[in-house]
C-alpha cells in the first residue's frame, strides 16, 4: 500500500470569537486510505474539514495538503482536493447538469478536459442514484437524497486526489450508503485519500481504515482498523467524567403492547400510485418506521401530522378529552389533538436562527397559553422552560443567547424540548438523530422511554436500523409506498428489518453483502 502522507495538520487551532473550535489538532492521512474523523457534536470535525479545504484559515499551526498550502477552495481545486460539506449545497434554480459542473472552469475560459461532459455526468449519476436522472431538470424540485447524490457526483466527477465527506451519508438510506461506499472504495484503490466524518458507528467500522478522534477541539488519538469499536470510540470521544453511564438505560423492557390505539390510519395511500394500507399506534408504545429512501415512509409520517394530505384514506386520533377518534387533516388538527412533530432537518424545519434559545423552545407552547386578543400568558413559560432544559439535559449558557450558539445536537434537543413542552399524547419524530452524537441520542431515547411509560406514544422514523434495536416496541417497514411489514419482539433485529426494507419475504436471506465494500 502506498504510504505517502498526503495530509498533515500540525498543532492547528481555530477560534470563533470566544469559542475555541479547534485547540490542538494534529492529523495525518495517507494516500490510499479511508480515514474517519470522529467526535461528538461540536468537537470540531467540520471546522477541521473546512480548514483543510481552504474555506477557513487556521489561527495557528500548519496545514499541508499534498505538500501545498490551501488558502481557498480555488487552491483546493487546483491541487485536486474536493470536499462535500455537511450542508447539501446545490442551486435550486439551476439544472442538474449545471450543478454538477459548477466551478470546473475559469472565470472566462472553459477548462475543457476533453471528453463529453454530459455522457460522463449521465454515467456517474446513473451509477450513484441507481437510475438515470434528467440532466436538464431544475434541481429545486428534487428530493433531498437526489440533491445529496448530485453533490457527491460533483465531487466524484473531479476525480479528486483527496476527498473529504462531512456527514454525507446522513441524508442517504442504507442501500444508497452502500453504493457510496463502493465509490469510496474505488477511490481508495486508485490511491486517493478519503476522509469521512460520520456519526454512524456501523458505517465507520465497515469502511474506515483508520479513525482519528476529536474531543473538544483536540485530536486525542488515531485508531487502526482493528481497534475501531464502539467502546473504544466512545471512551475516546467522551470526556472521562461523562463516561460512566448505563448504556441500556433507555432499553425497551419488552413489555406487552396495550390494546388501545391512539392513532389509526385506514386505507392510507402514501404515494400517488401505491397500494392502500392500515396503520395503528397502540397507546404507550414506541413504533419505529423504517424504509429505504423514497418508499413512502416520509410521506406517511408527514401525513400523520397534517403537513400534507395523503393521496387516500384518513388519519384518526383519539381525542384526549372525549376519548373519541377525530380526523386529522391539517397541522392545526394535529396540534389540537396533542400530536407533536420533530423534524430531523432542524436547519430548515426546526430552528429560528435569529431568536434566543428560550424563544425557540417556548414558541411551541405559546398557542396553548393565549389570553384574550392572542396575548401570550408569559408567567407559565419560565417553569416550563426550566423543566424541559433539565429533562433533556440541554447544555445552554443563558436562555437569551441565540439558538445558533448551541451545537447541532443541543439545538436538536431544544426542538425536542419544544415537542415535549406541549404535553403531547403522541410525539412523531422524523429522523431526529440525524447527525447527532451518541450521547445526545441516548438522552433522547431515555426521555422517549420515560414518556411512553407515562402513557405517551411515539412514532420514530429513522434511517439507521441500529436505532430501533432494543428501543422500539414495533418496527413498521415501508416498501413500495406502503406499510410492508410490522416487526416486533425478537424480529426487531438487523436481518429481518433489512429483509423487509428490500421487500423480501420474512424468511429469505438478505442477498447483498454488507461486507462487500470493506
Amino acid at each position: 500500500m502506498n504510504r505517502e502522507i498526503t495530509i498533515r495538520l500540525a498543532d492547528v487551532a481555530k477560534s470563533f470569537g470566544e469559542t475555541k473550535a479547534l485547540k490542538k489538532c494534529d492529523f495525518e492521512a495517507h494516500a490510499g486510505e479511508v480515514h474517519a474523523i470522529v467526535g461528538e457534536n461540536g468537537s470540531g470535525k467540520s471546522t477541521m474539514a473546512k480548514i483543510m479545504s481552504g474555506v477557513l484559515h487556521p489561527d495557528s499551526g500548519t496545514v499541508s495538503i499534498l505538500g501545498e498550502k490551501v488558502n481557498s477552495p480555488i487552491d483546493a481545486k487546483k491541487i485536486g482536493l474536493t470536499t462535500i460539506f455537511q450542508e447539501v449545497l446545490v442551486a435550486d434554480e439551476a439544472s442538474v447538469f449545471e450543478n454538477l459542473f459548477v466551478g470546473r472552469d475559469g472565470v472566462f475560459k472553459s477548462q475543457s478536459g476533453g471528453g463529453d461532459r454530459r455522457a460522463e455526468a449521465n454515467e456517474i449519476l446513473t451509477r450513484l442514484v441507481g437510475k438515470s436522472v434528467d440532466l436538464d431538470q431544475m434541481v429545486g424540485g428534487l428530493p433531498l437524497s437526489i440533491k445529496q447524490w448530485i453533490v457527491i457526483a460533483r465531487a466524484m466527477l473531479r476525480r479528486p486526489r483527496v476527498l473529504i465527506l462531512d456527514e454525507s451519508s446522513a441524508a442517504l438510506d442504507l442501500d444508497s450508503t452502500i453504493r457510496l461506499h463502493e465509490e469510496i472504495d474505488r477511490l481508495r484503490r486508485e490511491g486517493a485519500t478519503v476522509l469521512i466524518v460520520t456519526h454512524r458507528i456501523a458505517e465507520l467500522v465497515r469502511i474506515a481504515d483508520r479513525a482519528t478522534i476529536l474531543r473538544d477541539g483536540v485530536t486525542v488519538g488515531t485508531l487502526q482498523k482493528h481497534e475501531i469499536t464502539e467502546e473504544n470510540l466512545l471512551s475516546m470521544m467522551t470526556p472521562p467524567d461523562r463516561r460512566a453511564s448505563d448504556v441500556k438505560e433507555y432499553a425497551s423492557k419488552n413489555r406487552a403492547i396495550a390494546e388501545v390505539s391512539v392513532m389509526t390510519a385506514k386505507n392510507m395511500v402514501a404515494q400517488r400510485t401505491s397500494a392502500p394500507f392500515d396503520f395503528d399506534l397502540p397507546k404507550g408504545s414506541i413504533v419505529g418506521v423504517a424504509g429505504l429512501d423514497g418508499q413512502g415512509q416520509d410521506a406517511f409520517v408527514r401525513a400523520l401530522v397534517g403537513i400534507m394530505r395523503p393521496f387516500g384514506g384518513d388519519v384518526l386520533v383519539r381525542s384526549a378529552e372525549t376519548g373519541k377518534m377525530v380526523e386529522i387533516a391539517t397541522l392545526e388538527d394535529a396540534a389540537s389533538a396533542g400530536i407533536s412533530y420533530v423534524s430531523g432537518d432542524r436547519k430548515r424545519e426546526g430552528i429560528f436562527p435569529q431568536q434566543s434559545i428560550f424563544e425557540n423552545l417556548a414558541i411551541g407552547v405559546y398557542r396553548k397559553n393565549l389570553g384574550p386578543m392572542g396575548i401570550i400568558r408569559k408567567p407559565t413559560l419560565k417553569p416550563m422552560f426550566k423543566r424541559e432544559v433539565d429533562r433533556l439535559r440541554i447544555k445552554i449558557g443563558s436562555p437569551s443567547n441565540k439558538i445558533t450558539s448551541l451545537s447541532g445536537g443541543n439545538q436538536q434537543k431544544v426542538l425536542i424540548g419544544r415537542a415535549f413542552a406541549n404535553d403531547p399524547q403522541v410525539i412523531v419524530l422524523n429522523d431526529p438523530a440525524r447527525g447527532v452524537d451518541l450521547g445526545t441520542k441516548r438522552d433522547l431515547y431515555r426521555e422517549l422511554r420515560a414518556f411512553v411509560e407515562k402513557g405517551g406514544s411515539v412514532i420514530y422514523l429513522s434511517s439507521e436500523i441500529e436505532e430501533f434495536i432494543g428501543f422500539a416496541d414495533r418496527v413498521d417497514v415501508f416498501f413500495a409506498g406502503r406499510l410492508f411489514r410490522s416487526l416486533s419482539g425478537d424480529h426487531i433485529a438487523e436481518e429481518p428489518i433489512l429483509a423487509a426494507m428490500f421487500g423480501k419475504s420474512e424468511n429469505a436471506s438478505v442477498e447483498f453483502d454488507l461486507e462487500r465494500s470493506a
Binding site: 477552495p73 483546493a76 449545497l89 446545490v90 442551486a91 434554480e93 459548477v102 475559469g106 472565470v107 460533483r154
Partner: protein
Amino acid sequence: MMSVSALRQITHDRSLFVPAGLFVVLLVAVALRGHGLFTNNGLAGAILVATPLILTALAITPIVMAGRGAVDLSVGPLLGFINVTLITWLVGNGITNPVAIIGWAVGLGAVFQLIQALVIIYVRVAPIIVTLSGFLVLSGLNLMVMSRPGGVAPDWMLTWGAGTSVFSPVLLLLVAAYALWGVLRSTMFYRNLRMTGADERMAYTSGVQVDVIRIIAHVVGGAFAGLAALSYTALISSGDPTQGSTYTLQAVTALVLGGASLSGGRGGALGSTLGAINMFLISYLLSTFNFGTVSGFVTQMAFGLILIGSLLVNVFVISRRSVA
C-alpha cells in the same frame, strides 16, 4: 442570426414565455390601433425613447443575476450623475471629443459600480442597502453638480436625438451593449454568474471566484449604465439632475417583467430587453387612447394592473415548470 438564437432561447427558457407573449399581444394591439409605430419615423422614435430604459434594464441585469437580492437602486441616479457631469464638467469646460465623452460615461459608470461592488464584497453590507445609499448620495450629488436642467449636449450628439432614422447612433449604443453581452455570454462568465447568483456558497466552495464574478458583473453593469446615460443625454440633448432617478424603478420593473428573479440566478439580456420594450409599448398603447384629462391617471392605473397581471401569469408559468 440574432433573432434565431433569440427564438431558441425563448422556446427553451420558460421564464421568457410571459414577456414574449406580452410582447406579441402588445404589438398586435398597437398595430390594431393603427398608429404610426411601424413606420421608419415611428420605429426610429421608439428606439430613441426606449433605448435609455432598455440599457438601464441591461445595466442592472448582471448585478441582479449575481444574487444576494442585489436590486440595484442606484442605477437611475447613476444615469443622472453621468449625464450631469458629462454636460457640466466636460462639455461645460469645452471637452466635446467623442472619445472623451464616451470614455467618461462608460468609465464613470464602471468605476461607480466597481466601488459599490467593493463595498458589497469587503464591507459586507447587503447590496440593497449599499445601493439605497448610492441612490441617496447620487441623487444629492446630481443636484449639487447641476441644480436644474440645462446645458447642451455636444454638437455631434445633437443629431442623435433626431430620431428620424432607424439606423441611428443610438441604435449603435444598443448594439454595442448586446455585443459586449454576447461576448460575455459565450464565455464561462455567464454560467459562473448564474451559479453565483443561484447559490453563492455552492459556487464559492466549488471553486468559482465569486468575488471576481461579482466585480465583473458590477463593472459590466456600470458600463451599460454609461451607455444608457449616453442614450439618455442624446434623447434630451442636455443635462437633467433629477429625471435619471425615475429610471431606477422603471428598470427594476422592466427586469421583473422580463422574467428575471430579483433573488438572483435567473435572468438575461433578452428578458430585460423584452421587459423594457413591453413597458414602452404599454405606454405607447395607452397614449393612443384619448383619455382626456384623466389620461395620466388611467395610464398609471393600467400600468399597475398590467404589471400585477403579468407577474401573476409569470408565477404560474414558472412554478408549473418546477413542479413538472
